[in-house]
C-alpha cells in the first residue's frame, strides 16, 4: 500500500543519527521552554531557527528539529500549570483548572504522569489524522467562512459560563475584559489606531503573553505575599507529591475522555484561526458538560487534566494540516514553521504532498519519533519535576517572578511590556480576590481580534447585512450549540450552584 511505503520512506529519512539527535535536542529544549512562563511554542521555535540555519540543516532536518521543539513545548506547558498554577504557555491554561487542585491534594505525580500520557495520546492520534485525513480535512477548513468562524468563537465564549466560575456574570465580565483589551492597538482592517490614547507602544496591541504571565504568574506572587505567614508556607506542612506512575484504573477511566478530546482538539487545530488554545478550551468545556455529573471538574478530577492535554496536543498536530496543505498557518507556531519552510525554498500548498513527499513523510515520521521520545522523557522525569514542590514558596515565588520578567523582556526587549505585566499582575490579584475567573480574560485577549475581523469580513461581504451571520447550516448549528451551552447552565444552574457552593466551602482553588 502506498501509505505504508511512504511512511517507511519517511522513517528512513528521519531515522539517521543526526535527525534522532536533533529530535532529542528539540524535545528537551522545547520542554524547558514550554514549562517556563513567558516562553511558549511559537517563540521557542522562532528562537531556534538560527540554529537550524547555521547548522546548515536541510529542509527535513530543520523541520524535525523545530517540530520537536513545538511538540516539546506543548508537553512542557503543563508542568508549571500543574505544579504552580501558572500556565507555561497559553494552551496549558486549562490544565491549571484541575491539575493544580490535584497537586494540592498530594497527587502532583499522578497528574503529571497522566497528563503526559494524555499528551501522547492526543499527539499520536493527531499524527494519524494528519496522515489519513489531510486532504479531506482541507475541505473542512474550506467550509468555514468568516461567518462560521465568528459563530465558532461565539460558541467558545457562550460555553464559558460555569466552566471556570460559579457566577456567569463574572465569567461574562472577564470575557469582555479580555476582548476589550484585545481591541487596543491599530485596527487591522482599516489601519486606524483604537483606544491607544496616543501611546505608540500600544499601537501593536497588548501581547497576550504579557497578559497571561501577569495575570497568572505575578498575581500568584502577590497572593503569596498576602499570606506570608499563613498556610502558604510549605516548609511546615509536609508536601506530598504523589506517585510517579498513575494507578491503572485512573488511566483506564480517562481513556474515553482522551479519545473524545483528541478528536475535538484535532478538529479545532485544523481550522486556521482557531488553534491549540481553542482546542484545549473546547475540549475541557465539552468534556465537562458531557461527563461531569458530580461536579468534580475544577476540584482535581483526573479527567479534567487529561481532557485539555489530549486536546491541545491533538490541536498542535491538527494545526499542521492547513499549514502543509494550504500554506495557511492555523496558529502562531505554525506561522513560524511556515516561514522556515519558505526560506528553505519549499512552498506549502495543495501540491506539497506531491512535490516534496520526502519533506512531508520525513516530518510525519519525525512527529512519531518526537512524540515517543517525549513520552519516554516525561514519565521518568515526573519525579524530578515534582521536586519543585519541595522548594519553599519564599524561594520559589521570587524565582517565578524573575523568570516571568525575563521571559517577557527577552522576547520583546521592552520595559513598557514589563510595566503592563505588573499592572496585569495587580489586576489579576484583585480579580482573584473577587472570584472573577482569569481564563476568560486570556481567551478574550487571545481571540478578540480574529473574532472581530471575522465578524467584519462576514458583514462586509454581505454588504452590511448582519443576518449573514446565521445564513449557513454550519453557522446555524454552531449558534444552536452556543445558545444551548449558554442557556442550559442557567436552567440547571440552581443544582450546580448549590454543589459549587459546597465545593467553595471546602476551599477550592479554581484559579
Amino acid at each position: 500500500m502506498d501509505l505504508w511505503a511512504n511512511l517507511y520512506g519517511g522513517f528512513e529519512i528521519a531515522l539517521t543519527w543526526q535527525n534522532l539527535g536533533l529530535a532529542l535536542l528539540g524535545c528537551f529544549l522545547g520542554t524547558i521552554m514550554g514549562a517556563l512562563p513567558g516562553l511558549g511554542p511559537s517563540n521557542g521555535v522562532a528562537i531556534l531557527i538560527p540554529l537550524a540555519f547555521t547548522l546548515g540543516l536541510d529542509a527535513t532536518s530543520s523541520l524535525i528539529l523545530l517540530t520537536a521543539v513545538y511538540y516539546g513545548a506543548m508537553y512542557g506547558g503543563r508542568i508549571s500549570s500543574i505544579l504552580l498554577n501558572i500556565p507555561g504557555d497559553e494552551p496549558a491554561m486549562m490544565t491549571c483548572l484541575d491539575g493544580y487542585p490535584m497537586a494540592r491534594k498530594g497527587m502532583a505525580g499522578e497528574a503529571l504522569a497522566l497528563s503526559g500520557i494524555a499528551s501522547f495520546v492526543g499527539a499520536f492520534l493527531a499524527t494519524w489524522g494528519l496522515i489519513l485525513l489531510a486532504p479531506q480535512l482541507v475541505k473542512l477548513a474550506l467550509l468555514f467562512g468568516p461567518a462560521e468562524y465568528f459563530a465558532l468563537f461565539a460558541l467558545a465564549f457562550a460555553t464559558l459560563g460555569g466552566v471556570s466560575s460559579t457566577n456567569q456574570a463574572k465569567s461574562a465580565f472577564a470575557a469582555m475584559l479580555g476582548l476589550g483589551l484585545a481591541m487596543i492597538g491599530v485596527d487591522t482592517q482599516t489601519g486606524v489606531p483604537r483606544l491607544t490614547f496616543g501611546e505608540v507602544h500600544l499601537y501593536d496591541g497588548l501581547d497576550f503573553l504579557v497578559a497571561i504571565v501577569g495575570l497568572f504568574a505575578l498575581s500568584e506572587v502577590f497572593v503569596f505575599l498576602e499570606h506570608r505567614h499563613g498556610s502558604a508556607d510549605a516548609e511546615e506542612s509536609k508536601v506530598k507529591v504523589g506517585r510517579i506512575v498513575p494507578p491503572m484504573p485512573m488511566v483506564i477511566k480517562t481513556i474515553p475522555t482522551m479519545l473524545r478530546t483528541s478528536f475535538l482538539g484535532f478538529v479545532a487545530g485544523v481550522l486556521p484561526g482557531a488553534g491549540a488554545s481553542l482546542g484545549s478550551f473546547i475540549s475541557y468545556s465539552m468534556e465537562k458538560k458531557l461527563v461531569d455529573k458530580e461536579g468534580t471538574f475544577g476540584t482535581g478530577d483526573p479527567r479534567g487534566v487529561a481532557a485539555p492535554e489530549a486536546g491541545n496536543n491533538a490541536a498542535a498536530g491538527g494545526a499542521l494540516v492547513p499549514m502543509l496543505a494550504l500554506g495557511v498557518p492555523g496558529s502562531g507556531t505554525t506561522a513560524v514553521l511556515l516561514a522556515v519552510l519558505l526560506s528553505l525554498n519549499i512552498t506549502p500548498g495543495p501540491l506539497l504532498f506531491q512535490n516534496n513527499p520526502d519533506v512531508v513523510w520525513g516530518l510525519i515520521a519525525a512527529l512519531f519519533i518526537g512524540n515517543l521520545m517525549l513520552l519516554a522523557m516525561n514519565i521518568p522525569m515526573v519525579g524530578l519535576f515534582t521536586r519543585v514542590l519541595l522548594i519553599p514558596p519564599r524561594i520559589l515565588m521570587p524565582v517565578v517572578a524573575m523568570v516571568s520578567f525575563v521571559g517577557i523582556y527577552g522576547i520583546s526587549g521592552s520595559s513598557f511590556d514589563l510595566l503592563v505585566m505588573i499592572a496585569f499582575g495587580l489586576a489579576g490579584w484583585i480579580l482573584r480576590k473577587l472570584d472573577v475567573p482569569l481564563v476568560p480574560v486570556i481567551l478574550g485577549t487571545l481571540l478578540g481580534n480574529t473574532m472581530e475581523n471575522n465578524l467584519r469580513r462576514a458583514v462586509t461581504i454581505d454588504n452590511g447585512n448582519w443576518w449573514t451571520l446565521v445564513d449557513s447550516p454550519l453557522a446555524i448549528t454552531l449558534w444552536a450549540i452556543a445558545i444551548a451551552g449558554f442557556i442550559l447552565p442557567v436552567f440547571v444552574g440552581k443544582v450546580v450552584k448549590a454543589r459549587m457552593q459546597r465545593r467553595d466551602e471546602e476551599g477550592s482553588l479554581s484559579d
Binding site: 543526526q18 529544549l29 524547558i32 521552554m33 517556563l36 516562553l39 528562537i47 540554529l51 547548522l55 457566577n167 456574570a169 463574572k170 461574562a172 465580565f173 469582555m176 475584559l177 476589550g180 481591541m183 485596527d187 482592517q189 482599516t190 489601519g191 486606524v192 489606531p193 483604537r194 483606544l195 505575578l218 506572587v221 502577590f222 503569596f224 505575599l225 498576602e226 506570608r228 519564599r394 524561594i395 515565588m397 521570587p398 524565582v399 517572578a401 524573575m402 523568570v403 520578567f405 525575563v406 521571559g407 523582556y409 527577552g410 520595559s415 514589563l418 510595566l419 505588573i422 495587580l426 480576590k433 473577587l434 472570584d435 472581530e452 465578524l455 467584519r456 469580513r457 462586509t460 454588504n463
Partner: protein
C-alpha cells in the same frame, strides 16, 4: 459590598470604554461594520454583566489587613523600579536586587535572601541568555559571567557541530574565542 463596588466600577469602565471607542478616528475607506461597532458591543455586555454583579453580589471575600496590602503595594513598586532600571543596571544586578527583596519579604532571613537572590539572577541568566540565546539587558557584571560561561558553551557548540557534520573539531575553541572577545 465588594461586589457592589466592583460592579459599579465595571459599569463606569464600560461607559469609559464605549466613550474611548467612539473617539476612534475613522478613515476615509472603511468596511461595512467599521472599527467602532465591536468595541461598543463589548462595552454593552461589559456594562450589563457589571450591573448584574452589583445587583446580585457574591459573599464578601476576605480582604487582607492594611499591612499586607502595603506589602503587596511595596512589592509592586519594587517590580516597577526593576522594569525601569533593568536597561541601565543590566540584567544580573537588577534581577539579583529584586529577587533579594522578594525573597526577604516572603520570610527568608536577610543573609539567606542575599545569597538566594544572587543565585537566582545567575541561574536565570545562564538559562535564558546562554542556553536559549535571548538578548537580555547588559550591565557591568555580565561580561565577567560570560567569560566563565563561554568556554562551556564553546564545548556545547562543538557538540552541535558534530551533528552539522562539517568536522570542524579544531574550529570549536577558536569559535569560543571569537564569541568571548567579540564586543
Amino acid at each position: 459590598m465588594s461586589d457592589r463596588i466592583f460592579g459599579g466600577f465595571g459599569v463606569l469602565l464600560a461607559v469609559f470604554y464605549a466613550w474611548a471607542a467612539l473617539q476612534t478616528e475613522e478613515s476615509f475607506l472603511s468596511d461595512a461594520v467599521g472599527p467602532k461597532a465591536f468595541p461598543v458591543i463589548i462595552a454593552i455586555i461589559l456594562g450589563l454583566s457589571s450591573a448584574v454583579i452589583a445587583l446580585r453580589p457574591d459573599p464578601e471575600p476576605v480582604w487582607p489587613p492594611l499591612a499586607r496590602l502595603a506589602e503587596i503595594g511595596a512589592a509592586a513598586v519594587v517590580m516597577i523600579l526593576y522594569a525601569q532600571f533593568l536597561p541601565e543596571a543590566g540584567f544580573i544586578i537588577a534581577t539579583a536586587l529584586a529577587a533579594m527583596y522578594l525573597t526577604w519579604r516572603l520570610g527568608s532571613p536577610v543573609v539567606q535572601s542575599v545569597v538566594i537572590g544572587a543565585l537566582t539572577a545567575l541561574v536565570i541568566y545562564i538559562i535564558f541568555h546562554a542556553v536559549l540565546g535571548l538578548s537580555l539587558a547588559r550591565g557591568p557584571l555580565d561580561a565577567y559571567v560570560d567569560t566563565v560561561v563561554d568556554p562551556v558553551l564553546g564545548a556545547i557548540g562543538a557538540f552541535f557541530e558534530m551533528f552539522g557534520g562539517s568536522g570542524a573539531d579544531e574550529a570549536a575553541p577558536e569559535a569560543t574565542g571569537a564569541t568571548g572577545a567579540g564586543d
